[in-house]
Symmetry: C2
Subunit: 508 residues, 2 copies
């Protein structure tokens, strides 16, 4: 047997060809998410077996190796499933050869931050002995360009070489929204580090750029503050939005600090009358600020039952300030916001904070919608920024929500004022952890999160009005994810559905 | 964020500790599959940060790097989820330090074959500044010993060092059966090469040693013969049993050779009256013999509908030889056996061949049971060898078959004669591909295949008579698989079940 060898790589993958015949039909453009602007042709180029990275003229020194590593991953992804045959009968006499990728980056700065320039231009001409050309303002735009280029490369099973079909290509691309998020939850179940890394790699394939890390919740407090950042995510252009959800969802805090419980028999929300509560929040955010350098921190604020625990005569603070329970909730959230601001963060809060006392929130607040539709329009009308995650469409643990619904969920619904549209910084799909763990997190996320990723990346006018028009292209991308080792589920059915009868990956 | 960094590795995994408390209870022995003989103590050793491989005195030159690569994988597996802190406050003054693993292999030969010696001895003393000691007759026994040793190593989250608990350890181990198989099917769905490699790696974790590759079937013929073997599987001690299933399940053959179809409207079984049929089989087995050097080849022979296609007056051969349809089936199978024997293979055939004309089969036949229980006793009574895969217990696509049923399925049921017991060479769990693909193959296989793996490895007397006695140990191993990136499903429920309410991996 020859796993890893040229013939056998073909062997396993040949099934794809045989069982799907010419699945690609009349040369559709199979890039996901669809770029802003694409033109292609009908010619084929061969990739040289020693396909190289050329950075001549680039202003980016790449001292941290982000580009070099990205290019290595690009080659690894191609070679993980196919091995080119250096003795291939294909001759450069018959086809032009692409010797490598020439990457020119205009900015030397590789600080990853909200709003970083992610645009790129990619061109693959069809002349002989050329380099494909990728230009970007930042290395993060270049990484997106590499992902797009990887989707132009196909393995020719007869010739045993990689080739770029449909050349010449000219692609000009940039994202529609700057915030394109995926939430993971490490509190409800153990999520293995390897799976989290896999999810981050897959996010890069789909051009998502924010990992919203719901670290702590009622069930556990698996929090240590990293002290030697390795920035695995940053090297892939993924920001990390850390969440410390207060004052609800905090029962686990009291395992270490029992006095944070209002009482032993009523353990959340956190004790609003105890100064230690805010000292601990300040300590955590102080530690966060040394590691999580995204300009937002998520303070939660959702599902706070103020009628629970915050009653009884021992609440000196409530009495003193003449606050009732719901006022105490506002007091808690606003004081927590002040602490976050003092550490240099802008704040993300779940929508209940806006729904209850939106006018009191810091103007640096981004309101995170989750309960339902129609919230974003109210938030931006009030002049605050918004992230859209309406649970009826973008919550991944609802397996009955289909990829078509994920695809069609439009963040700017009913928002026509351009200034208000700008306040919707993006959207996020949420993979809550109550009912998933390392055994099924990836196929619960993919391919549905990829459907939302196109909604967040591709210009509105280029999005399909009918999801049936992208089914073939998304199925092609789903098979590409499988080929890359990502267990994305079939499209035919609800989330995480098993494949139906035997047949082509492209048709399931 | 710090995926890959010491603190964050702890961060993600700390959840495990916190959410399950002291899940390990009173220091049970958490090794899967359970070795033949184990003694342990109560002391703890630290693993040195520069833990090394020492082969002094070994007679195995390791020119192919099988041992060296196996040791590297051992370190990778540990470090994939945890990073030791070289500045750890733990001092060797408090605990003895284990500097490395001393491996002594007695045979220079690393030919992997049926019946190769897989035994090993592993001892970890509790004296200071020592090497753990692993002795084996072959490198493949040493690989099993490395897998066992990896399960003795734990990460101490407070001290941030790896440690071996419960030392001193003395383990003497060898498999109960020489054939411990897993079937995969690349015909019904595309199985990505990366997933197949993952499955092979996972097989090594559970000490399974035969990948039965059902390559072609009715739906597709994804077969090329490797010409530059990379032996990915062999370097992990996994044999590959290639199957070419004839004369049924062959409709796909006619896509390339239409004359192998009895007629265009009746396309399987293969045309028994066409000499080309046997020429093609001979060609395939000739190619197999250059690559698949396991001493068995699988010729299928199952589910042959002799009343279909093999009728009609154009069957000169049948008429000439005076064969009826069922006799033609026997003729086909025996002639195919002769071809396999001429290429130096022993033959594995599915049980229908035995059920229909067992006395005619080559004495070099291994009968592969699948239909039901009770077959093995008839096969060995007839003096033939048998592999047990009764579908009611060991077919993985039946999701309602629980891990407890996989665990309790005993290959030697009703076989008491020691000579006859020896004819049962082992068993195999089968992952047929009709309803799985790259998105769910791994969690459909694990942990249930691991339950069968202990049945096939561990001495009968050490197997639990009640599966409840191994639930905690198997759950621990399931979490270990997750930690290693294998999406093994929870134990609470049928196959591939999603986890229940939030909680510890150890309890799901």
């Amino acid at each position: 047997m020859e796993l890893g060898g040229p013939r056998c790589a073909g062997l396993v993958l040949l099934l794809l060809l045989i069982s799907c015949g010419q699945g690609r039909g009349a040369d559709p453009i199979n890039i996901w998410p669809m770029p802003k602007s694409v033109t292609s042709g009908k010619q084929t180029l061969l990739l040289s077996n020693d396909f190289v990275l050329n950075t001549q003229g680039s202003k980016y020194p790449d001292s941290s190796g982000i580009l070099k590593d990205g290019f290595s991953r690009f080659l690894q992804v191609l070679r993980a499933s196919h091995v080119a045959d250096s003795n291939s009968s294909y001759s450069s006499a018959h086809f032009p050869v692409c010797k490598g990728l020439h990457v020119v980056i205009l900015s030397p700065n590789d600080k990853l931050q909200y709003g970083v320039d992610e645009s790129y231009k990619l061109s693959v001409t069809a002349l002989g002995a050329v380099y494909a050309y990728l230009e970007a303002n930042t290395v993060y735009g270049a990484l997106h360009g590499l992902q797009t280029f990887s989707q132009l490369c196909h393995f020719n099973f007869k010739a045993r070489v990689f080739e770029v079909r449909q050349a010449p290509w000219t692609i000009i691309d940039q994202p529609r929204f700057s915030y394109r998020g995926l939430l993971i939850d490490t509190s409800r179940h153990y999520q293995p580090l390897i799976m989290i890394k896999n999810v981050i790699d897959s996010m890069a394939y789909t051009k998502l750029n924010v990992l919203h890390w719901h670290i702590v919740d009622t069930q556990s407090f698996p929090l240590e503050i990293p002290s030697y950042p390795k920035l695995y995510a940053q090297t892939r252009g993924i920001n990390v939005l850390a969440e410390i959800d207060v004052p609800g969802h905090t029962q686990s805090w009291g395992i270490g600090y029992p006095s944070l419980w209002p009482s032993t028999d009523c353990q959340q929300p956190l004790d609003v009358s105890n100064e230690l509560t805010f000292k601990v929040i300040d300590g955590i955010l102080s530690d966060f600020s040394k590691v999580f350098n995204y300009n937002f921190v998520h303070l939660g604020g959702d599902e706070v039952n103020t009628n629970l625990c915050w009653l009884g005569s021992h609440y000196e603070l409530l009495k003193k300030k003449g606050l009732n329970e719901s006022e105490a909730y506002q007091y808690f959230v606003l004081r927590s916001q002040e602490i976050a601001l003092s550490h240099g963060y802008d704040i993300v809060n779940w929508e209940e904070t806006f729904n209850n006392f939106g006018s009191k929130l810091s103007r640096k607040t981004v309101v995170h919608n989750w309960i339902g539709s129609g919230v974003a329009e109210r938030v931006v009308a009030a002049g605050l920024r918004c992230i859209v995650s309406n649970q009826d469409k973008w919550y991944l643990h609802y397996l009955d929500t289909t990829w078509q619904e994920f695809y069609m969920n439009e963040p700017l619904t009913n928002i026509t004022n351009p200034k208000q549209q700008e306040l919707v910084i993006g959207g996020e799909v949420c993979m809550w952890g109550e009912y998933i763990d390392g055994s099924d997190i990836e196929q619960t996320i993919w391919p549905r999160a990829a459907a939302a990723a196109e909604r967040l990346w591709t210009p509105y006018d280029k999005l399909a009005k009918d999801p049936r028009r992208v089914t073939g292209r998304l199925a092609h991308f789903r098979c590409l994810l499988n080929e890359r080792g990502v267990p994305a589920a079939p499209l035919n059915g609800p989330g995480r559905v098993a494949p139906e009868e035997p047949g082509s990956c492209y048709k399931q």
